[in-house]
C-alpha cells in the first residue's frame, strides 16, 4: 500500500505553539468500513449505513480545510487496566480482524505513528502523576476501533497518528472516577500538543448509546432491519446531540455518568470527556454531520472546531450557555 512506501512525518510548527485544531466524535462500527469497500478490507458489501458514511464524508470535507499534522485517537477497544497506554512504535503493519464481526472486518493496515508526540504526552502525564506506559512492541496489533475511526476520518492514512488506550476506570471504580481521570488526561494532552508544536486533531472513537442487537441479519447490510435498540436510548442520544448543537459541552459532560449508565454508552471509555476537556469545554456548537444506528447502537458523527481555526465569514458568533446564538459583525 502506498502509505508504507512514503515515510510520513508530521509537519512541525514552532515548538510550544502547538494547538488542537478540532475535535471529532468519530464512532468506530466496523460496518462502516465494510460498507465503504476499501481495498484494505477483505469482505465486500453491497451498501449500508449510508447516513453515517455520508456524515463522515461531510466531516472529512470540513476537516480538509483545517490544517493539521497528526490525529490523536482515544480508543475504547484498546482497553487497559494498569494506566493509560500510548502507541509509540513508528510503523505498524498487519491484519486487523474484528473479534465480534470477523465476517465484516479483516483490514490490512499500514500505520505511521508520531512517536515524538506520543512520548511528549507520556512525559507530561508522568509529570502530572497520571499512570501511562508507552507501547513499543513491534508485533502489537492495533485495535479495530482505532483503525475504523482512522480510516473513516482519513482514508488516505497520510498523516501519522497517536493512540491512547482506554483506561477501564469506569468498570474498575465508577463513572465519576473515569470522568476525573479523563479530565486530567485531557489537560495533559492539551499541554503536550502545545509543547510539541503539532496541530492536532482529536478523535474520540466511540458511539453514544451502546446496546447491541444480539443477533445479526443474514445480510448484515440489510437496512430494513436497522434501528435503535429501544426508544429510551434514542431519547438519550437526542438529548446529548441537542447539547452538542447548542454548544453546551460542559453540561453534556456533566451528564455523562447518567447517560452512560442509562444507555450502556461507549462514553464509558472516557473519549468524549477527554476530548472536551482538552478543548476547554467548547461553548461553540458542534457541527453534527449525522446520526445513525449500527446493530442497534446510536452513533453520531460530529466535530468541534474553535471559531478562530475556521475560515468562515467574519461574523463573530456569541454563544450563550442556553444555546442561543447572537451575531455581531466584527469591526
Amino acid at each position: 500500500m502506498k502509505q508504507s512506501e512514503t515515510k510520513i512525518k508530521p509537519q512541525l510548527s514552532t515548538p510550544g505553539k502547538g494547538k488542537i485544531v478540532a475535535g471529532c466524535l468519530a464512532p468506530h462500527p466496523p460496518h462502516l468500513v465494510y460498507a465503504e469497500n476499501p481495498p484494505q478490507n477483505e469482505p465486500r458489501a453491497e451498501c449500508g449505513w449510508e447516513t453515517l458514511r455520508w456524515a463522515y464524508e461531510s466531516m472529512r470535507k470540513d476537516l480538509s480545510a483545517l490544517e493539521h499534522d497528526v490525529l490523536i485517537i482515544l480508543s475504547p477497544h484498546w482497553r487497559t487496566y494498569v494506566g493509560t497506554h500510548i502507541l509509540a512504535t513508528p510503523h505498524l503493519k498487519s491484519l486487523s480482524v474484528d473479534p465480534i464481526f470477523p465476517n465484516l472486518f479483516r483490514y490490512h493496515y499500514d500505520i505511521q505513528v508520531d512517536v515524538e508526540l506520543a512520548e511528549t504526552i507520556h512525559t507530561v502525564c508522568q509529570e502530572r502523576k497520571i499512570p501511562t506506559k508507552l507501547m513499543q512492541n513491534p508485533d502489537f496489533r492495533v485495535d479495530y476501533g482505532t483503525i475504523v475511526t482512522g480510516h473513516m476520518v482519513n482514508p488516505a492514512w497520510d498523516k501519522p497518528i497517536v493512540v491512547l488506550s482506554s483506561n477501564c476506570v469506569a468498570a474498575y471504580y465508577n463513572l465519576d472516577r473515569m470522568q476525573a481521570l479523563m479530565m486530567e488526561l485531557g489537560e495533559a494532552t492539551q499541554e503536550a500538543v502545545e509543547k510539541s508544536g503539532r496541530r492536532a486533531l482529536l478523535l474520540a472513537s466511540h458511539s453514544l448509546s451502546h446496546r447491541h442487537f444480539t443477533v445479526e441479519n443474514e445480510l448484515p447490510e440489510d437496512m430494513s432491519q436497522e434501528h435503535i435498540t429501544n426508544h429510551s436510548l434514542y431519547l438519550w442520544d437526542m438529548k446529548m446531540i441537542q447539547l452538542m448543537k447548542a454548544g453546551r459541552s460542559k453540561e453534556m459532560i456533566n451528564l455523562i455518568p447518567d447517560f452512560t449508565e442509562q444507555t450502556l454508552a461507549e462514553t464509558e471509555s472516557g473519549g468524549l470527556t477527554w476530548m472536551m476537556k482538552a478543548m476547554n469545554f467548547p461553548s461553540y456548537p458542534a457541527k453534527v454531520h449525522g446520526y445513525g444506528t449500527v446493530i442497534g447502537t446510536g452513533n453520531v458523527v460530529a466535530h468541534w472546531a474553535p471559531p478562530e481555526n475556521t475560515s468562515e465569514d467574519k461574523t463573530k458568533k456569541v454563544y450563550s450557555q442556553k444555546g442561543t446564538i447572537s451575531h455581531e459583525r466584527n469591526a
Binding site: Y81, L95, N137, Y172, T214, V215, N230, H231
Partner: protein, 358 residues
Amino acid sequence: MSVTLKSQTSHSSHPIIQGFVLPGLVHPLLCPEANPGYQKVRSAFEKVKEDIERSSADLILIYSTMWPSILGHQIQANPEPEWTLVDEEFHDLGSIPYKLKIDADFAQAYNRHAQERGLHSRTIAYHGFPIDSGSIVALKLINPQNRIPAVIVSSNIYSDRAETVVLAKAAVSALKEQGKKAIAVIISTLSNRLHSTWVPPEEDKIHSLKDNEWNLKILEFLTKGRLEDVAQLSRQIQREARVKKVTNFKPFWWLSSIMGSHNRYQGQVYEYQPICGTGCAVIGLTPAPRAARDLEFDEDAPEFYTGERNVLSASTESIAEFSSQNNDDNNAFTHSFSQESDSPESHTDPEESFCENK
C-alpha cells in the same frame, strides 16, 4: 498430587473426564522468573499438562472469559490458527507466536447443538482472528505440542445464567454425538482486580483482603469438590470479588453444567497466587463417586434457551403474555417458564444415580 483419572471416569459415561480452572494472564508463560509465585503457577500448569497427557481425552474444550462476544456465542473452528500475539495490557513482556490445532468438526457440531437448544451461535474460522491471550497461554502451557485438539468458545457479554448453562449442555450433547471424551477448561481468574498502577513483580499481592478472602472461600469449596455450590454462588462472587466488566460471573456456570451440575468431585488446588493483583488459581476437578456435600440448589438448570423476555419493551403486546390480568395469558406465562425450567430431579443423569449423597 496428581490425580489418576481412569478409576474415576470408568464410573460414568459422562463425556467430561476432568475439569480445570486456569488463569489467563501472560506472566506464567512470559516471565515466570519475575516472581516465585508466577513460577509456582507455571509449575502448576505443568502438572495439569501431565494430567491431561495421562488422560484419555480426545479434546480440550475451553470457555474463555477473555474472549467476549456480542452476537451470541462464537466457537473457534479454524483448524490451524497461527499468529503472533501481543497482550494489549502486558505488551512489554514480549510476543507469543502460536500455532494451535482446533477440532473444527467438533466446533461445527457444538454450534449445531447450541442452535438446536435455542442459542444464537456461530463458528469462526478466519486467518488472523484474535484468539484471546488466556486461551493461548493455557494451550501453550498445557498442550504445547498440540497433542490433543482444542475448541474454544467465547463468553457473551450479555448472556446470563440460562444461556451459559444451556451452552454447556450443548457441548455435552455434541460430545455424546461424536463419542468423544473431553477435558473442560475455564479461563478465568478468581478475583480479577488488577493493580491500577505498576507494581514491581516482587511486590505483587492480591489486590485487597476482601478479594483474598473470597478467593479462599472459593478454593475451600472447590477443594471439597463443591463445584455446583460455587456455581450457585456466582452472582455473589460477581458482587464481592469481581470488577464488573460483564453482566455476570459465568465461568463456573459453564463448568459445572458441562460436568453435570453437582458436587461429586475430587478437587485439587494445584496453586493459588497473585498475578498483578488478581487471584490466579490452578484447580482440577475430577469426577468422584461421592460428594462432600450436596445441597438443594437455588437455581434451576434449563435445557433450552427460550430467549429474552423483552421486559424492557414498552409494547403492551410483548408483555401481554405475562399479564396477571388476563386469564387466557396466564397459561402462556406458565408455559413459557415450564419450557425453561425443569424440575431439579430431571437434571440427574440416570447413569449416575448410583452416586448417593453422604
